[in-house]
Symmetry: C2
Subunit: 246 residues, 2 copies
DNA sequence: ACTAATTTGTGTAAATATTACACATTTACT
DNA sequence: AGTAAATGTGTAATATTTACACAAATTAGT
């Protein structure tokens, strides 16, 4: 498109009153939040799904979502919706992306803000099971309702990126974990296999793991040492700078 | 917070009709887009700002924003608003983050979706100058209207990260550029100084620069060679994988 | 108590990437 | 012709990444 008369002639300054009237009337849109909650169990990455609220769509799984209230902070809405749907609190939610194509929702114009989180399934027991809430292996997530597949994919890619740059993974493990568990986690999330010796060398070189002087129990083979993550040291030493790399 | 009776008793399933009525009435919110348009000129990173539409706030600069229409895709709204405010089209906009605290806007509840872009100031001449639209050196961006400082900061950090991982910077340079111009760009955006020899080595090793066999004109010193970026080769060879690093 | 199966724990050499650093060359200007 | 300014280039030291193999610890089965 090129420059049009409409653009040239339009005077963009508006009064507060004009804007107030626009805000109060013609341009209001329903806003929702959808939460993509990742967890890790049995060496598989999982995600929490429910049957859609819309009975019409209950043959498909959907993300945890609801409309946000007009007098509610966006982040607060995300926490409220998560709690309402799952009973979970004390979970850190990160905003990922906002999806706003016109026809994404069958009930009308609804723009949705996607949030995602990573939790330890053992530490965060679900308290509410409405709409068949339960964990799904991410490799079986397919044909979600509405545009939820796209939202899920976006959040999953974000997760893959973030876990390489931040120590998110430790949230998904028991408080005391072995290096094998840590590697299984990375392999599950990144969908790849890694060399065991190099993986260990990498983490030992970072020097953020504390050897607890304990070993795994009840494993049918040589038990591994248990570690915990040194968040304090990480906060002090974390990378300020990376280089140009593409 | 722990589990409450309210949570246990709430039945989360709703009918389509219930949702439709929520979408159509109580929960509608004004949505806006704000654009953070970065450009590069005179070895400085710049950003496009206007005086706020609200006369009351016209002593402060603000981002390019407007309300989105109820029947308009979110991305389309961003492009429309950019065009309306600046006359610019053919500019790639990337969504960055959505800001939704209750009192962020004086005209009422307005949730805003921030988009950002990087353009070559020479290639994209502005056609509209309402509200004193013009380029500001990013080092002089301070005290923006509303929460626009926060939005700007978020977009600037995103830019700093993305330019290290993707070849965005070439959009900001002339079609033919010298390595010094490229380095100035990176130094301006990242706010740092780099070693000239190592910078060159890095880019030559990537092997995405095409030597045009031409040299700079009208420089008061030895002219540098001119290059262009090989987008085709980049698309084929670009990094699929990075490692764990934090 | 022995054996088999499984997984942990460890080291090194080669290749690659990063860093710090200095001087001769080219051009415009006077 | 001389000066000022920026370009273009190389190397040695260090750090990081990669590929790769074998002994030790434990359980389960006999």
């Amino acid at each position: 498109m090129s420059l049009t008369l409409e653009n040239l002639n339009q005077k963009n300054t508006k009064t507060l009153k004009t804007i107030q009237s626009e805000v109060e009337s013609i341009n209001r849109i329903a806003l929702s939040v959808d939460c993509v909650i990742f967890g890790f169990d049995e060496n598989k990455l999982k995600v929490l799904l429910i049957r859609s609220d819309l009975r019409k769509y209950q043959s498909k799984w959907s993300l945890l979502g609801d409309l946000i209230h007009i007098n509610e902070d966006l982040d607060a809405a995300a926490y409220r919706i998560l709690k309402q749907r799952t009973g979970l609190s004390d979970v850190y939610l990160e905003q990922v992306h906002t999806f706003g194509t016109i026809n994404r929702h069958p009930a009308g114009r609804v723009v949705t803000v996607a949030y995602c989180s990573l939790i330890n399934i053992q530490h965060h027991k679900l308290n509410i099971f409405d709409n068949e809430l339960h964990w799904h292996d991410i490799n079986n997530v397919t044909e979600l309702a509405f545009d939820h597949q796209q939202i899920f994919d976006t959040c999953y890619h974000r997760l893959q990126k973030r876990i390489q740059e931040h120590p998110l993974g430790f949230n998904l493990l028991p408080k005391k974990f072995s290096l094998r568990e840590l590697q299984n986690l990375y392999e599950a999330i990144l969908g790849t296999k890694m060399d065991r010796r190099n993986f260990r060398k990498k983490f030992f070189a970072m020097d953020f793991l504390i050897d607890l002087g304990e070993i795994e129990q009840d494993v049918p083979h040589r038990p591994g040492k248990l570690y915990k993550f040194n968040y304090g040291k990480y906060e002090k030493k974390k990378k300020k700078w990376v280089g140009i790399d593409f």
